[in-house]
């Protein structure tokens, strides 16, 4: 299958899936199409899908960042730690973002310059950064931020849209262009496909990877702050376990875990699929564990079914793959 066919195949599938889910949701729940609900549908997972955008780049480059959720938590906790000490809010926010960048640099250093597998490094990060977050806030739950900060996460800004949602939209467009139109995007694919060849072509592989992890750290921190703004208070366990959901979104989008392939249309669609599915099940009063099971099954089937179809087609064409 050439890339074009594959693209149509995969995104087509997701699109069909999305159509079905939306149809079912509409028929089941009168509330689904309500503006309020649509906004909530995004709001409830907005931080995850923001991080999913950068995660896409990281995975296509053949790496992975398991530490994103912990970085989200850490950034929020840095804020929660500084603000009560009387540090002015803007400074506290900058510091929080900086902490994300630092985590990114740290990951990037070990992965790009020392050459450790990202899975190992960011696994350590997953544990370690969460630990630092814990050190900062311990068992406290810290709230009472300035109203304008909470507004960022909660108030509707343009029509019914919150700042978080706008951030997501803008980021989506930017990252999509970077990946599919820019030189950097090209390099990301090449590195994902054949790192050695990239190096032998004078590509600054290390710098690109470093850049990706820093971006990942920064955006995760940003998302963490948006999360804090949305919930209005911060605890040590913030965003714990989000990494799996985020990776699920990216992989369901048809991005190869081995790097080198995948595209943004797919990720966009998979985000819509997962969010509307969750929301639909929520409105149908389906409880948490069933929801996660269904999404788990969906994740598997969405790759399994096309493969099966392909396999059968070949069997019956009698030719090898």
């Amino acid at each position: 299958m050439n890339p074009v066919q594959r693209l149509i195949g995969w995104e087509g599938l997701l699109l069909a899936l999305l159509a079905v889910i939306v149809a079912v949701n509409i028929s089941y729940s009168p509330y689904f199409l309500g503006v309020e609900n649509i906004v909530n549908l995004f709001q409830l997972s907005i931080e995850k899908i923001i991080v999913a955008l950068v995660m896409t780049l990281v995975i296509i480059s053949g790496e992975i960042d398991l530490s994103v959720a912990s970085v989200m938590g850490l950034a929020a906790c840095v804020l929660a730690w500084l603000y009560p000490m009387g540090v002015p809010m803007p400074l506290a926010l900058l510091a929080a973002l900086a902490s994300g960048v630092l985590c990114g640099l740290f990951n990037g250093f070990w992965i790009a310059y020392v050459g450790l597998p990202s899975l190992a490094v960011t696994l350590a990060g997953l544990i370690g950064y969460r630990g630092v977050a814990r050190i900062l806030v311990e068992d406290r739950s810290i709230g009472n931020y300035p109203a304008w900060f909470n507004a960022i996460g909660q108030e509707e800004l343009v029509g019914p849209l919150t700042i978080s949602i706008l951030v997501f939209v803008v980021l989506f467009v930017i990252v999509a262009i970077v990946l599919h139109r820019s030189g950097l995007g090209r390099l990301i694919y090449v590195i994902g496909n054949s790192p050695a060849a990239a190096r032998y072509s004078g590509v600054k592989v290390r710098r690109v990877k470093m850049a990706l992890f820093v971006a990942s750290g920064f955006v995760s921190a940003l998302a963490g702050l948006l999360y804090a703004a949305r919930l209005g208070s911060v605890r040590g366990d913030m965003a714990q376990g989000f990494e799996l959901d985020i990776i699920t979104m990216v992989l369901l989008g048809g991005v190869s875990i081995f790097g080198g392939s995948g595209n943004f249309l797919g990720v966009g669609l998979s985000i819509l699929v997962i969010l509307s599915l969750r929301n639909g099940m929520g409105l149908a009063n389906i409880t948490g564990n069933t929801q996660t099971s269904v999404i788990g099954a969906l994740l598997i089937l969405s790759v399994l079914l096309p493969n099966m179809a392909q396999l059968i087609r070949n069997k019956w064409k009698g030719s090898e793959t």
Partner: protein
Amino acid sequence: ADAPPPGKELNMVLLPKFLGIAVFDQAHQGAEEAAKELQNPAKLQFLGPTPENSVAGQIEIVTNAATQGVNAIMISNNSGDQIVPAAKAAHDKGIKVVTWDSPIPSAEGEDVFVAQVDFTETGKVMADMALNILGADGGKLAILSASPDAANQNAWNKAFQDILKNDPKYAKLQIVDLVYGDDQSEKSYNQALALVDKHPDLQLIMAPTSVGIVAAAKAMQDEKLCDKIKVSGLGDPTEMGGYAKNGCAPQFALWSFVDLGYLAYYTAYALATGSLKAEEGAEFKAGRLGDYKITKDPTREKGLRILMGPFSVYTKDNLPQ
């Protein structure tokens, strides 16, 4: 005080911390019982998140419930103040928000908290059990709590620590450590053992969590330490019976979660029908449990509460058959 009018069709949601924990299912039974008594034709929704996704899950469920415009939500809050925006939103839409088992610390977005017992009372009960076990000349004890993020746990521990500090009666009881088992048997078990290693002269492990207390008891039994180190705290008699008998846990306390669910339902129903106003001094009759009164919550300045009580302290002699 008069009972709420039966037979009203009210959509109500019962929301536990997360699914799969025995005590919450007992609360569910109680609520169902109340629902039958009050002849509410609408089905009671028992919706919960999965353990690993508790905070985000609870927020999501509350938000969806608001979207569906249910009449009342009963929350055992696991999200500290992070649930506030969601709860507020629901409350602003005229939905009655009742918390039970674990309240919203700031009490924002909450009508009333149905308290199983008085939290300072809890501290006292824990102190008394400790005193009874360790005797007049006291000794060293450590707290094995659930997660650092559980509001009610933290409140209890604080009350416990305060009373030991301030009341000369308990002067000889010394708290040497506070650790968390995250309501996971394995972690609690290992934590208990670790405590033993770290404090050679430890005499009592106080675990105000139904998961933690059994794990601790099992650990002491396995290590044949029961005669040296006792276990106490808040535990489910059906799980703890054995340890009460064999002396590993001579005393522990709990309230009836069935009654708690029952009372929570009555409260929410009464509020939703308007027969009960969420204000200090308001009274109503909750079926078989009799009359209750809404009072200020001493542990939360803005909060209102209904106090269920009482504690039942269990020993090997009064275990339920």
